[in-house]
């Protein structure tokens, strides 16, 4: 029975490791591109997201090694204790050398992880290191409210202003962005706190009432991505479902044009502006 208990505590770490190993194949893993069968499944569609994934895998390797080693040690002492039951236990109050070792080694590892990741964080959040192209012309203002995402684009050829302009374009729960260039959005909240979470893009930023927070990302592959809310915002929190459509620059331009036409179309006048071409 003593050996049974020692084995009992070794059984579950093995199950845990097996589950982790099969998880990507079982699709219990990072969400990837829209196409569920694509080879890049589980891979982020933004360069910064790839950095985050790499950091995750690095930490996963380190922690897995620690997990395995500590559990082997635990298993060893348990089996030994099971075998030696009845013998008088070792009379030892500790070991200075061991203690020093297992203080210094983890310190080194933790300092390494700390320093290693600073750069990704800086790129993601520190305004002065945002890509210039993104900062110059934010593509849209995204305003969260209970329970939807409101999007405001500047009119084609114009720049996004802090205050709404008469020719601004509006959509709800549908954010279009151009691919293959850094884009920045201005994130706001109209009521309570929300959080802009695009899982496939590995982007998350809380929207704070009373504050405008810039968020940037670069989508490298055209497609439809999820946009959800990650901060409890009321009973309908789970319903804040929206999409991010990433498309090549030309298509994005066309999208804005169409949006403007649609918005300016009062249904009475003929479409006499130059864009009305498909008659």
């Amino acid at each position: 029975m003593r050996y049974f208990w020692a084995a009992f505590f070794m059984f579950w770490p093995i199950v845990a490791i097996v589950i982790f190993t099969i998880s990507p194949a079982m699709n219990w893993w990072f969400p990837g591109a829209g196409d569920p069968d694509s080879l890049t499944k589980g891979q982020s569609m933004t360069p910064l997201g790839v950095d985050i994934d790499n950091l995750f895998y690095l930490i996963l390797i380190i922690t897995s090694v620690v997990f395995v080693l500590t559990h082997i040690a635990l298993g060893y002492v348990l089996f030994r204790g099971a075998r030696d039951e009845g013998k008088k236990a070792l009379f030892s109050h500790g070991s200075h050398a061991l203690e020093v070792m297992w203080t210094i080694v983890p310190t080194g590892i933790l300092i390494f992880i700390s320093l290693y990741q600073l750069d990704v964080w800086r790129k993601f959040r520190v305004m002065s290191s945002f890509p210039e192209a993104a900062v110059e012309a934010p593509v849209a203002e995204v305003t969260a409210r209970q329970f939807e995402w409101r999007i405001r684009y500047p009119a084609p050829g114009k720049k996004l202003q802090l205050k709404p302009q008469p020719d601004d374009l509006y959509t709800v729960n549908d954010l279009h962005v151009p691919t293959n260039r850094p884009v920045m959005i201005q994130l706001r909240s109209e009521d309570v706190q929300h959080s802009f979470f695009a899982p496939q893009l590995r982007v998350k930023q809380d929207a704070l009432p009373g504050q405008v927070i810039p968020v940037w990302f670069e989508v490298t592959q055209a497609g439809h991505y999820q946009l959800t809310c990650a901060e409890l915002c009321g009973w309908g929190h789970y319903k804040m479902k929206a999409r991010i459509v990433a498309e090549p620059q030309t298509q994005f331009g066309k999208y804005l044009h169409d949006l403007r036409n649609e918005q300016n179309d009062d249904g009475v006048q003929d479409k006499k502006s130059g864009d009305a071409d498909d008659e």
Partner: protein, 609 residues
């Protein structure tokens, strides 16, 4: 199991020593209800928290039901509870469920079971005092739990229940319009937290005073068992962190009732109400809340760490590996615990440079946690292990704590936390530390100190059954949450499957729910064992575990005033298997030295005062 026969202590001596104090008979009310005896208060706390554990567990099962079978009628209870909604859980009700689950578990189970139940029961007994420094304050600290329970209970039934999570972030928690129906519920919730704060504060002051002033002769600081160190450091954390939460709570009440706008910026339009006129800052709440609530997670852990250290040493018949480093590690956790609160706010929009400093301090706090883990494994190493329920629960503590500590590193690294924040990865993390570690530690402690509480042993077979079922149920419920987190499933979603990228996770959630049900059922085994053994368990002597610390030199259960022989302490609590102990493998702290040993010193003269 060798036991010391209580009859061997001359009764006459006991009387002579304790004089009249031990004598006067108390009325039923003074003895069992408004008792000022720390042991009775500890038992009251224990039984109350165990009942609350069942309440919190039932709430959790309702949450799990919705995740497994979204919008399906709950069997039996569904018809009863929400007949008006056709037996379904509504999204509002779901929000209330997870809010109250966390509230009950944190404020009414984990904190009071550690500091309230075991802090009360163990501190005087383990340092050799006859009671707490302030017995009446102690009694009040228990009875202040009841207004808190009443307030939380009321908040269930007024309106839709509190709807902002246990973190209660404004503006959702601040503005009535933001969560219609939760108006008075949220006020009662805040009041409940305040009462619980009073209760903890009274306890904390009492523990600090008692531990500093009332140690028996010879009980120097570095001869205190780890349990006492855990309680001591926890009490310090509470004394310094709690006022901040209480203040923050009052500020939120002010915002809600008196228009103080501490957290409300101007121009916010909630639910088509008029724009707010403010000037406040919602992030302020997060800073204040986490300034308390991060130390609070250690309040919910350190005492368990201490108790597990003691139980492991006893069951392995081995001195604790690295006693002083263990104490320093605990102190380091407490110290660092005050400067890491920002790791809950990495994506909140606070200054990114501040995020970096919080990241580094958070990484550093993993270090003492690691040291402690290695020391526990070192303690088991070379031991002559008794594989009983107590030991099994303690090993589970160590094993689960490793997982929780390691998942903490993913979240301490800010870039990965961008992704993991507010997903199920967080939920996995804190359940591994709070349930996996703390609660298993408590399950061990229940069995370990049961003989001292009631003079009877708990049933081993039932204890092991409870352990195995809980362990399997626990891992089956919470391990897959890591996967859900990696798959990007946000927490607090009433219906995650509305989102296409989460649809395929429903079968997994379903399996987890059944494991959770198994775990819930298993707790009845514990309750049954507890109730049965309290009255019918085999009687035991003073020291059924052959342990060293002081409480085991008192009768089981100890009478009023605790010790029949005033204890004098000659050594630390971990002298197991010492060559000096003769044919026994333990050497109690109170046993007079047989040989000249440098470690066995009689108390300093000024200690005896």
């Amino acid at each position: 199991m060798s036991t010391i026969n209580p009859a061997s202590t001359p009764n006459a001596l006991a009387h002579a020593v304790h004089g009249e104090a031990a004598h006067h008979e108390l009325s039923f009310v003074r003895k069992y209800i408004f008792s000022t005896d720390h042991k009775m208060i500890g038992i009251q706390f224990l039984i109350t928290t165990l009942l609350m554990l069942m309440v919190g567990g039932a709430l959790a099962l309702a949450v799990r039901w919705q995740l497994a079978y979204p919008w399906k009628t709950m069997p039996i209870v569904g018809e009863l509870l929400f007949a008006q909604q056709g037996g379904q859980i509504t999204p509002e009700f779901y929000t209330m469920l997870f809010t109250m689950h966390a509230t009950v578990m944190i404020f009414l189970v984990v904190i009071p079971v550690l500091a309230g139940a075991y802090g009360n029961f163990c501190i005087p007994l383990m340092i050799g005092a006859d009671d707490m420094a302030f017995p009446t304050l102690n009694m009040l600290s228990y009875w202040f739990m009841w207004p808190a329970i009443a307030c939380f209970g009321t908040s269930f039934f007024v309106g839709g229940g509190p709807a902002s999570g246990w973190t209660s972030y404004p503006l959702l928690a601040d503005l009535y319009e933001a969560a219609p129906g939760s108006g008075w519920a949220q006020n009662f919730w805040l009041l409940g937290v305040t009462f619980i704060g009073f209760s903890s504060m009274m306890g904390s002051i009492n523990y600090l005073t008692t531990i500093i002033n009332m140690r028996a002769p010879g009980m120097t600081l570095f001869r205190m068992p780890m349990t006492i160190w855990g309680m001591f450091i926890t009490a310090i954390l509470q004394a310094f962190a709690l006022p901040v939460l209480t203040a923050a709570g009052f500020m939120q009440v002010g915002d809600r009732l008196f228009g103080t706008v501490f957290f409300i910026p101007s121009g916010v339009v909630v639910n088509n109400a008029a724009p707010t006129i403010g000037g406040g800052q919602p992030l302020l709440w997060q800073h204040l809340f986490w300034f308390y609530s991060h130390p609070a997670v250690y309040i919910m852990l350190l005492p368990a760490m201490g108790m597990v250290s003691d139980m492991l040493a006893t069951m392995c018949r081995k001195p604790l590996f690295g006693y002083k480093p263990m104490v320093y590690a605990m102190a380091a956790i407490a110290g660092l615990g005050f400067i890491v609160w920002g790791h809950h706010m990495f994506t909140s929009g606070m200054n990114p440079a501040l995020g970096m400093t919080f990241m580094i301090s958070t990484m550093m706090i993993a270090l003492p946690s690691a040291i402690k883990t290695f020391n526990w494994i070192g303690t088991i190493w070379g031991g002559n292990i008794r594989f009983n329920t107590v030991f099994l629960n303690c090993v589970a503590f160590v094993s689960m704590f490793i997982v929780g500590g390691l998942s903490g590193i993913f979240m301490a690294a800010v870039p990965t936390d961008i992704y993991f924040h507010d997903t199920y990865f967080i939920v996995a993390h804190f359940h591994y530390v709070l349930f996996g570690a703390t609660l298993f530690g408590v399950f061990g402690a229940i069995v370990y100190w049961f003989p001292k509480m009631f003079g009877r042993m708990m049933n081993e077979k039932l204890g092991k059954l409870h352990f195995v079922l809980t362990f399997i149920g626990f891992n089956g419920t919470f391990f897959p949450m890591h996967m859900l987190g990696i798959a990007g499933m946000p927490r607090r979603y009433a219906d995650p499957y509305l989102h296409p990228y989460l649809e395929h996770l429903q079968p997994m959630n379903l399996i987890m729910t059944w494991f959770a049900i198994l775990m819930g059922v298993a707790q009845f085994v514990l309750l049954a064992n507890f109730a049965y053994s309290m009255f019918l368990g085999p009687k035991c002597g003073r020291n059924p575990w052959d342990a060293n610390s002081l409480e085991w030199s008192a009768p089981s259960p100890p009478g009023h005033g605790n010790f029949d022989i005033p204890p004098v302490i000659y050594r630390g609590p971990y002298e197991f298997s010492s060559p000096l102990s003769g044919d026994k493998d333990f050497l109690m702290q109170t046993e007079p030295p047989v040989t000249d040993n440098v470690n066995d010193t009689p108390p300093e003269p000024d200690d005896t005062a």
